[in-house]
């Protein structure tokens, strides 16, 4: 499928109100178990914000609170100018009054309704404009032939588009997406992600999306908020999150990294992979330095001034890039490092390569003083 074009009517008529979602100091507990504590989320009009974190970190609960499917216990939620939930004893607006679109991880399509009936579920009988929009959009998204089909006959990708359309049909003020791609098979995911991105950027609705997949978050989000144990640990643009993670946890979200234990000696961080700038750390301080596999720059033949010599333990081509395991010693007994080189780079097993790390790609985390 090519990227679908959404007819102009897709832009909700309420766009001019430019509604944003504000969740202020929200906390939530199930029984004794606190799942969200003191989280604030702001999604500006037209912005797509991703909540990124491992499963069980409280992301989905935040979505359900915003939609009104859970009663807010602590904090405040506003959409546009309206306070929809107030944890300080204020009223809770029921979900059907909030005009919020929510797309579920399992899509939650109604099995007894056809594709078209699913999409117009949230529309009034007399809302001709939106019903027409639903028909048109189904066609432009390549689902025109399935309008009268039942959801269970559709593929995962088709179901995903129906669920998205159903959430968009009533022109919601805010769109909430719960792991919108996790139910899809891996091969189709990239394409569907791209299509969804197109649809959303055209609709211009403030969107809050939840995912545990960092690549997905990088691709979709204007801003990423990383969650861990019910708290926001870092918030920023995708580039900030990737290149300037605030904690080891954030850095490791994007895949395995090489960890080096270092100490500042004579004004420089001394590590197994050489000396790095101390970045203002005090003499004698200990730090953990993380090096992403792609930040290790390898070259062959190994020469003294090309970097630290390492022994090749394995080298596997993945087509677009090559994955290497390297040892500091003469065989695979020494500390091991992972590297990822672009293209094909297949040195002989047991041979020596030189490794160099560009200082700007180092992620330095001072260890708390002993």
């Amino acid at each position: 499928m090519t990227s679908p074009m959404i007819p102009p009517a897709a832009a909700p008529t309420t766009m001019s109100r430019a509604d944003g979602l504000h969740m202020l100091n929200v906390s939530h507990a199930f029984g004794d178990h606190t799942v969200v504590s003191g989280v604030s989320v702001f999604v500006n009009p037209g912005e797509l914000v991703c909540l990124l974190g491992p499963s069980g970190c409280g992301k989905t609960t935040l979505l359900r609170l915003a939609a009104g499917l859970e009663d807010l216990q602590v904090g405040r939620i506003t959409i546009g100018e309206d306070t929809v939930a107030d944890g300080q004893g204020g009223a809770q607006m029921p979900p059907e009054k909030r005009n919020v679109g929510l797309m579920f991880q399992d899509f939650a399509l109604f099995p007894h309704l056809t594709v078209y009936e699913n999409i117009v579920f949230g529309l009034a009988e007399k809302d001709r404009t939106r019903r027409e929009w639903a028909r048109d959009t189904l066609t432009t998204m390549g689902l025109g032939d399935y309008a009268d089909a039942f959801p269970h006959t559709l593929s995962g990708g088709q179901q995903q588009r129906v669920a998205l359309l159903r959430a968009l049909a009533p022109a919601p003020r805010v769109l909430l997406l719960d792991e919108p791609f996790s139910g899809l098979d891996v091969n189709r995911r990239a394409q569907i992600r791209q299509d969804t991105f197109q649809i959303l950027s055209r609709s211009g609705i403030a969107t809050l999306m939840v995912t545990h997949d960092p690549e997905e978050a990088m691709f979709m989000a204007d801003r990423i908020m990383v969650m861990q144990h019910g708290r926001i640990v870092q918030s920023g643009t995708p580039v900030e999150i990737y290149f300037h993670p605030k904690t080891v946890f954030v850095a490791e979200l994007f895949g395995p990294v090489n960890r080096l234990d270092c100490r500042v000696e004579n004004g420089a961080l001394v590590s197994a992979l050489g000396r790095f700038p101390a970045n203002g750390l005090a003499e004698g301080a200990e730090a953990q330095v993380l090096v992403r596999p792609e930040a290790l720059n390898l070259s062959q033949p190994a020469t003294a001034d090309a970097g630290i010599p390492l022994t090749v333990v394995s080298a596997r081509s993945l087509g677009r890039s090559t994955h290497l395991t390297l040892s500091l010693g003469d065989d695979d007994a020494g500390p091991l490092f992972n590297a990822r080189m672009p293209g094909v780079f297949l040195p002989e097993i047991g041979s020596r390569v030189s490794a160099r790390v560009a200082p700007e790609h180092l992620l330095i985390f001072p260890k708390s003083a002993p």
Partner: protein
């Protein structure tokens, strides 16, 4: 900004309290569940109340006989249903022989015949004056009983045979499903490791299906405990027959209640067995990969034996009784009509319909109550209330009559004191008592069906409907109701049919002179006039056939690529 401690504490305390005190839904659920469970609680209370005199008497007279015969009866039926149910299930799922496609669904048919009706038919055919012995005497020229030996059908062995023939489908259905679910790979691994097909069955397939088979056997044995018509007619003095005897013939309600409480021990053992086996079922799924089953092709004498093994239970459990009933019904059509057949049928239908509507309404309420409400208390109460399916009707009848008589007496006393008018018995001895008994016994059927249906409506669907602008009521009417419709109909149908067949509760609780088809047939059979009530028996079997046919159809469809026909 709230203090961090307050943030963490507030919700927690709220939910801790909620765990002990049920919310509004919880209280409604709890109240309704307790109402349905009242007969059970009444029997339990009686069991706890010491009654040393009655006990000494029971102990000295009938108790051990009852225990011995009940154990023998359900033990025999357990063994019989195991052999027939598991054997036929294995043959139709794993082997290929002539008629397999037919046996596959027809093996369910005997489920439509109530135990007592098969007992009447067998007696009618096999007793001294019956067709079989008559024919034998004619052929061999025997003149009387002394000339030959023939097994007595009105005996323990007869009761076991009769009940096994209609109860084995419980084991057949569950064993069959278990064999179908087993990964063929496991069997193939066993074959590649050098085991023969027969050894693979004993060492792999049977142990894997064991939990399902045990569940089937416990269900069959619960039905056997419930049976009253057969044991009474055959004069096999088990607990169920004893309760009826002690109560109605000796007019000793407390003695009957004590017997009922002992019978509950059997029920508890069976329920525990069933629950344990059901838990075991979860760990016996080997792999979800479904492949064409191997289908060992049987030839010659083996194929013939397999076909006979599958055909006999269908023949004796369904074909024989159905044809005997049809021929009698035709011959005695006018006689039966004159015996008030139409009024009695109307009684049966309206009573069963009423029970079905009540059971569905209450099942729906409880299923929603558990979905909406929180707390373990209502949940436990509902589980307890649905144990009724395992409790023999005679026991439940006692559980109904004792509290109801108490209620009637207090209303009467109150009215006598305040208004100076005696109200007499308001509830006991009316159809309300029967309906209450039906509800206590069959609630599990409707509740289980509806709960399973409601489980298919995911919470996310609720959420989707709500965020799309539907309020709770609209969510109910636009999403829940259309999705639940089939479950509600199924639940109603199941309860309706079981009430049509029900004998012990009805015969104990019915108002004087009030008959249903079941009591009518039982009465006539006891008076040696079985032929004249055959139309009534046939009507019960016909009603019983409805769910069985539906079951047979779904059985056919239950496994993709294994619908009756052969496989390469």
């Amino acid at each position: 900004m709230p203090h961090p401690a307050a943030v963490a504490d507030r919700p927690a305390t709220r939910y801790q309290l909620a765990r002990l005190i049920p919310d509004r839904w919880g209280i409604i659920t709890l109240a309704v569940a307790l109402f349905v469970a009242t007969p059970l609680i009444a029997v339990a209370t009686i069991a706890m109340t010491p009654a040393p005199d009655i006990w000494r008497h029971l102990y000295n007279t009938v108790l051990f006989g009852y225990v011995e015969r009940t154990v023998m009866l359900i033990g025999g039926i357990g063994l019989g249903t195991f052999i027939i149910g598991t054997g036929t299930a294995w043959l139709v799922t794993m082997c290929r022989f002539p008629g397999r496609g037919l046996f596959n669904w027809a093996l369910v048919l005997p489920l439509a015949v109530p135990t007592y009706i098969l007992a009447f038919v067998f007696t009618d055919q096999l007793e001294y004056a019956g067709a079989v012995q008559g024919t034998l005497r004619e052929i061999f020229g025997w003149r009387n009983r002394q000339d030959y030996w023939f097994p007595e059908i009105r005996s323990m062995g007869g009761a076991i045979t009769v009940m096994t023939l209609v109860l084995y489908p419980y084991v057949y259905l569950l064993a069959r499903a278990a064999f179908l679910e087993q990964s063929v790979c496991v069997l193939e691994v066993s074959r590649t490791l050098g085991k023969s097909a027969w050894q693979s069955f004993w060492n792999v397939a049977l142990p894997l299906a064991r939990p399902a088979i045990v569940v089937g056997m416990t269900l069959a044995m619960m039905e056997a405990l419930n049976d009253f018509g057969t044991v009474d007619f055959f004069g096999v003095k088990t607990f169920t027959a004893g309760i009826y005897d002690v109560w109605l013939n000796m007019d000793n309600i407390s003695g009957a209640a004590q017997l009922a409480s002992v019978l509950m021990i059997f029920v508890v053992v069976l329920v525990v067995l069933e629950r344990m086996a059901r838990r075991g079922q979860r760990y016996h799924h080997t792999s979800s990969k479904i492949q064409a089953l191997p289908s060992y092709r049987l030839r010659g004498i083996k194929a013939m034996l397999a076909a006979v093994f599958c055909a006999l239970p269908i023949l004796f459990g369904f074909v024989l009784p159905a044809s005997v009933l049809v021929s009698y019904a035709v011959v005695f059509f006018d006689v039966t009509l004159q015996a008030n057949y139409l009024t009695i049928t109307l009684n049966s239908i309206s009573l069963s319909l009423g029970a079905a509507v009540i059971a569905v309404a209450i099942g729906l309420l409880l299923a929603y109550g558990l979905r909406m409400g929180s707390g373990p208390l209502p949940r436990a109460a509902v589980r307890f209330a649905s144990i009724g399916y395992a409790v023999p009707g005679a026991v439940l009848a006692i559980g109904v009559i004792v509290p109801m008589a108490g209620l009637d007496n207090s209303i009467d006393a109150f009215s006598e004191r305040v208004f100076g008018v005696s109200t007499g018995l308001l509830f006991s001895g009316t159809v309300i008592a029967i309906l209450y008994g039906y509800l206590a016994r069959f609630l599990a059927l409707s509740f289980g069906t509806i709960e399973a249906g409601l489980g298919k409506v995911s919470r996310n669907m609720d959420g989707a409907a709500r965020t799309l602008g539907a309020n709770p009521f609209q969510t109910m009417s636009r999403v829940h109701f259309p999705l639940l419709r089939t479950s509600l109909l199924t639940a109603g149908l199941l309860v309706f049919v079981d009430c049509m067949k029900e004998l012990p509760i009805t015969i104990i609780l019915r108002p004087f002179g009030y008959d249903t088809l079941a009591t009518f047939v039982f009465q006539y059979a006891s008076d040696e006039l079985f032929e004249e009530s055959a139309l009534g028996a046939l009507t019960i079997v016909a009603a019983g056939l409805i769910p069985v046919v539906i079951l047979a159809l779904t059985t056919l469809r239950s496994r993709p690529g294994h619908a009756g026909g052969g496989h390469p």
